[in-house]
């Protein structure tokens, strides 16, 4: 192997660093208009009337759209539940809901026009807290229920749970009550995680143009070109082939660009205007458009004196905001791992996806897992402290092993989790039990180390299709709908195709998604691309390779097995001068040295869970990660400094080790922000810190002093070259590792609510001091 396993430089790196890469907002179409939306200032209100006459009369305004323009279309869309109107219909459900939109010759005119729109609202009672929203007496946010179009979701989710609970998912096994009865100790705690921003530097943006009444072309930095194509086709009553979605370079996604966000409105405006329309959201609008689910976790754990877990009951509430997007599916993803990557014989795990009157959330790297990992890994350290056990030992004792039957009933393969944990712990010099002893202190500074492990599924069942095209000059094109959004998928897929053909990587070009050209893909999400699209690309490449070898075998009159394929062409093994170049092979195949050789594959993984029992096959592959961190806490100010942090991921096979490092380093820093300070704050549904001035993202200055990205390679039998997904792996592990390090630094002061803001730490210390003096 040469291409796979080496640190091939990023194929898109140069264009991005030099600034020559074209992003959606760089597109300028002739006659293009600019869009601006009028957004609801109310978190929940009846939409009484919308009067756009003054706005429409403003010179330079070409089109204004409202709910009236959805006549004859399918006004509601959604990945799982069709609950989101293209434009507010009978009511608005969150601050920022789009009520009307304007397309004008200039952005400034559109902005001015929006201010001329007159709207009458009738405010309705609203609910913001996820637990309150789930209660039966909460104001109902969606009176109507909408049928999902996607068959796999209908079959695999429990929708229509009632009230604001959009969906419920249950997993479990054993006898939970009996488990608690035999426990030597029982812990019960609640944990909270706030909504956070994805923080993609490129905002949501789309350009739409109708080439004819039956032909819509949309450019957008979407992680899911095909899914968007399907949704737009449904809204506008077009065949899928009537919608072309093109994905230019993408300035970050992190899950935030997986679903239709502003594309339907942009297309509607372009349709009414009869001209191309571009809509670039401002950062303030991005804050109203997508985010990570806030979460509330109730966790009860029964354990034996020797540290073995015997029972666990978990309830998780994910705050969807006003619309579901893929929330029910993501809440399912959280359910079966809610007891962690541990052997727990008796468990009852329930997740609820709940509507609130906050702006919609949607998938964010790790989807449902960070919430539960924050809870179960904090619990593990509490149990270790209680039992005076080494937190590392306690985890190793309970961790899942190769071949274990998981709560979903499936047998686990490629389980490198213990290795991940050992490696990460060793990476920061873990010393065993003494890490929970009262540490040495220097003035107000306290040091501590913490560990965390996680597991996550990839969305299943799904499919990915790819085509490989070999040109007459021996160059190769991979046609794929996978989106390059910074994670390095183009480079990785180029390596896989090159390896499959025996060509150097430079020969391979990987397309951007363009639904006119590139075949089906479920989406670039769920850490699934290397595995699924990698498999499809590899098999497509092998099909090309086979055709070349077949042509060679015919012309050279040898057996296929005696031939080898290289960049120069085909030659008889050991007899290099008996060879044929690529043009010669084309001539053999087609009688003339012109044309292309195609290979293609639709790679499919079957499975899924029965929503009644929670059993089945949850994942095409599982991935595992660990994080270990050492921190220094200033006990007087509550400020934490991360001295050392190590992540370890079981990637199956590192197709590109350098990219794995970069991915894990980026994940670590992203998760660090959410661990320490990121939090979207709302007051009565109004954003309090909805700008990047008030909502800070981590900068390079926040990078820990030392970082190591460690890899475990437990080959997966179904992965291309044994590879599994790794994209999201580090994200859920970071906050609990840091939280445990802080708790250890402070002698067991646990903070249950993220982020670990300095004031929270000071308050927790003060509370403990007050408790200690009360006890005296």
């Amino acid at each position: 192997m040469s291409a796979v396993g080496s640190d091939v430089p990023r194929v898109d790196g140069n264009a991005k660093v030099s600034g020559s890469a074209q992003y959606t907002a760089d597109i300028e179409l002739p006659g293009m208009l600019h869009a601006k939306a009028l957004r609801s200032p109310h978190p929940h209100a009846k939409l009484v009337s919308v009067d756009v006459s003054k706005a429409a009369a403003l010179p330079g305004v070409i089109a204004v759209v409202t709910r009236d323009d959805l006549e004859g279309l399918n006004p509601y869309y959604g990945a799982v539940v069709e609950d989101q109107p293209v434009l507010a219909m009978e009511r608005v459900r969150c601050v920022g809901d789009v009520v009307a939109a304007v397309a004008a010759e200039e952005r400034e005119i559109a902005e001015e026009a929006v201010e001329l729109i007159e709207v009458e609202y009738e405010p309705l009672p609203a609910v913001f807290d996820v637990v309150e929203a789930a209660a039966p007496e909460a104001p109902i946010i969606h009176e109507e229920r909408f049928e999902t179009q996607a068959a796999i979701f209908r079959e695999q989710l429990n929708l229509n749970a009632g009230g604001n609970v959009c969906s419920v998912f249950r997993a479990g096994d054993g006898d939970v009550d009996a488990g608690f009865a035999e426990a030597d100790g029982i812990f019960e705690n609640t944990y909270r995680m706030p909504p956070v921003q994805h923080g993609h530097i490129e905002p949501h943006v789309a350009t739409a143009v109708w080439e004819s009444p039956n032909r819509l072309v949309v450019h957008t930095p979407c992680q899911n070109a095909v899914g968007l194509q399907e949704q737009l086709a449904r809204i506008f009553n077009l065949p899928e082939s009537g919608v072309r979605v093109v994905v230019p370079h993408v300035g970050g996604g992190y899950g935030g660009k997986t679903h239709a966000r502003l594309e339907p409105v942009t297309a509607l405006l372009a349709r009414k205007a009869g001209r191309p329309v571009q809509w670039v959201l401002t950062r303030e609008e991005v804050f109203l458009t997508g985010r990570r689910y806030g979460g509330f976790v109730r966790m009860k754990t029964g354990f034996k004196r020797d540290g073995s877990l015997v029972a666990r009951e978990v309830e998780v509430f994910y705050d969807l905001g006003a619309y579901a997007l893929s929330g029910p599916a993501n809440a399912k993803t959280g359910s079966y791992v809610a007891s962690g990557p541990y052997r727990v014989p008796n468990r009852r795990l329930t997740t609820y996806a709940v509507y609130t009157n906050l702006p919609p959330a949607g998938p964010y790297r790790g989807v449902g897992v960070p919430h539960v990992a924050w809870a179960y890994e904090s619990e593990m350290d509490r149990i270790a402290r209680h039992l005076r056990m080494d937190p590392l030992e306690l985890r190793l004792k309970n961790l899942l092993q190769e071949g274990d039957i998981f709560v979903t009933g499936e047998s686990l393969v490629s389980v490198g989790i213990s290795d991940c944990l050992r490696q990460a712990a060793a990476g920061i010099g873990w010393r065993g039990r003494e890490e929970q002893a009262d540490g040495a202190t220097e003035g107000s500074l306290r040091r501590g180390k913490g560990l965390a492990v996680i597991m996550k599924s990839t969305t299943t069942p799904t499919a990915s299709a790819a085509s490989v095209r070999l040109n007459g000059d021996g160059s190769v094109m991979l046609l794929t709908s996978s989106t390059e959004m910074g994670q390095g998928v183009r480079t990785c897929l180029a390596q896989i195709v090159a390896e499959g053909l025996g060509f150097p990587v430079e020969r391979v070009t990987v397309s951007a998604p363009d639904t006119d050209v590139t075949p089906y893909d479920k989406s670039t999400s769920s850490s699934r691309t290397t595995f699924h699209m990698g498999n499809a690309a590899l098999r497509a490449a092998e099909e090309v390779r086979d055709q070349l070898l077949e042509a060679g075998a015919r012309a050279l009159e040898v057996d296929k097995a005696d031939l080898e394929l290289a960049a120069t062409g085909v030659s008889v093994r050991g007899v290099p001068d008996r060879s044929l170049t690529i043009p010669q092979l084309l001539r053999v195949k087609y009688g003339d040295a012109v044309g292309s050789i195609f290979g293609s594959c639709n790679f499919q993984v079957k499975g899924g869970l029965d929503p009644k029992t929670g059993k089945g096959k949850a994942a095409a592959f599982w991935f595992f990660a660990a994080c270990a961190a050492e921190v220094e806490v200033d006990a007087e100010t509550g400020k934490v400094r991360v001295l050392d942090i190590a992540t370890s991921v079981d990637v199956g096979k590192a197709i590109n080790p350098l990219q794995c490092w970069l991915q894990n380093e980026g994940s670590m820093l992203e998760a660090l922000g959410a661990a320490f300070f990121e939090e979207m704050v709302f007051e009565q549904g109004q954003p309090v810190n909805g700008t990047l001035l008030e909502y800070m993202l981590p900068s390079m200055e926040d990078h820990p002093e030392r970082f190591q990205s460690l890899l475990v390679e437990t080959p997966h039998p179904d992965g291309p070259f044994g590879a599994k997904g790794a994209g999201e792996a580090v994200i859920p592990a970071v906050a609990p590792a840091i939280g445990n390090a802080v708790a250890n630094a402070l002698g067991g002061v646990n903070i249950t609510e993220l982020p670990l803001r300095p004031e929270r730490i000071v308050a927790a210390l003060a509370e403990r001091a007050a408790g200690a003096s009360r006890d005296k």
């Binding site: 400034e108 902005e111 401002t282 303030e284 107000s444 007087e636 100010t637 400020k639 922000g673 320490f676 300070f677 704050v681 309090v688 810190n689 700008t691 001035l693 008030e694 800070m696 993202l697 981590p698 900068s699 200055e701 926040d702 803001r757 300095p758 004031e759 000071v762 308050a763």
Partner: protein
């Protein structure tokens, strides 16, 4: 963002005349604060007067008596890296170095920073501790006042219509100042300060004769406390006093109570460090 006219005067007089034209006229220097307000629609100026191109308005000099004069258009980066500031007012260089990030520091000016009047800033507290003055020029002439009198509250300054900040001057220091600026953030390290503490001890003939504690970013205006009989105990009381005195503004960075707590803790630390430097 609304459109506006951009005027580019060559001289301060010309600029002041332009600024005097009315409420809808705003001066702009680095634009780092102003353009955000305009983009967010919080300010809607018809005319912006660009001060950045005024000639000779970014020099940083020291006169024979030891007074340091920083022209208003000097960027935060120029202040931070100026040899004069580094040698004679290292605490100001240190504070400027901690403003935002390198990109902002290259654009933002010291004049704009003061004129903006945002209490969550680093330089104002240090300038108050250094007893600095601002120089204001307008169509009615030039006046000077203490920075502490200039800053009236959050986004409130003594600037009148048609006036601009033209310079900041730090008077000569009798003896020698030791001490440092301590910036505390609760979020990202590039965040605006939750508290900015300046602790200075003035020495004459190597004897500590005065201690100063200035607290910025916590209340609407920087607080300055001076102690002319500095002892370790007195310094401790200074920090306590400052904490009690502060009218701390609660926000997402912390409650008022937490911020006062910070003033106590960090005030003590900063003064202790200055004292240690003064009496090693």
């Amino acid at each position: 963002m609304r459109n506006f006219d951009l005027l580019e005067p060559k001289t301060v007089d010309e600029a002041c005349r332009m600024l005097d034209a009315g409420e809808d006229v705003r001066p702009v220097s680095g634009g780092t604060a102003l353009l955000i307000l305009v983009k967010q629609g919080l300010l809607r100026p018809q005319v912006l007067v660009n001060l950045k191109k005024l000639e000779g308005t970014n020099a940083i000099t020291r006169d024979g008596a030891g007074a340091v004069r920083i022209e208003a258009m000097a960027t935060i980066h120029e202040v931070e890296t100026s040899p004069v500031v580094r040698e004679h007012l290292p605490v100001l260089a240190a504070a400027c170095h901690q403003v935002a990030n390198i990109r902002i520091r290259h654009l933002a000016t010291i004049g704009g920073n003061l004129a903006h009047g945002d209490h969550q800033s680093d330089p104002p507290g240090v300038l108050v501790a250094l007893d600095a003055e601002v120089e204001l020029s307008g169509t009615r002439g030039t006046r000077a006042m203490k920075v502490t009198d200039f800053l009236l509250g959050t986004y409130e300054t003594a600037l009148e219509t048609g006036e601009m900040v033209t310079a900041v001057t730090v008077p000569p220091v009798r003896g020698r100042l030791v001490g440092d600026y301590l910036k505390f953030t609760t979020g990202s390290s590039e965040e605006r300060p939750c508290a900015g503490i300046t602790a200075l001890v003035r020495l004459e003939d190597d004897r500590p004769v005065e201690a100063r504690l200035a607290v910025g970013a916590v209340a609407a205006r920087p607080l300055l406390l001076c102690e002319t009989d500095p002892t370790e105990g007195a310094l401790q009381r200074m920090a306590e006093h400052a904490a009690d005195e502060m009218d701390a503004i609660p926000d997402l960075r912390g409650s008022a109570e937490y911020k006062r707590h910070l003033v106590r803790v960090l005030g003590c630390r900063a003064l202790a460090a200055a004292w240690k430097e003064a009496c090693p």
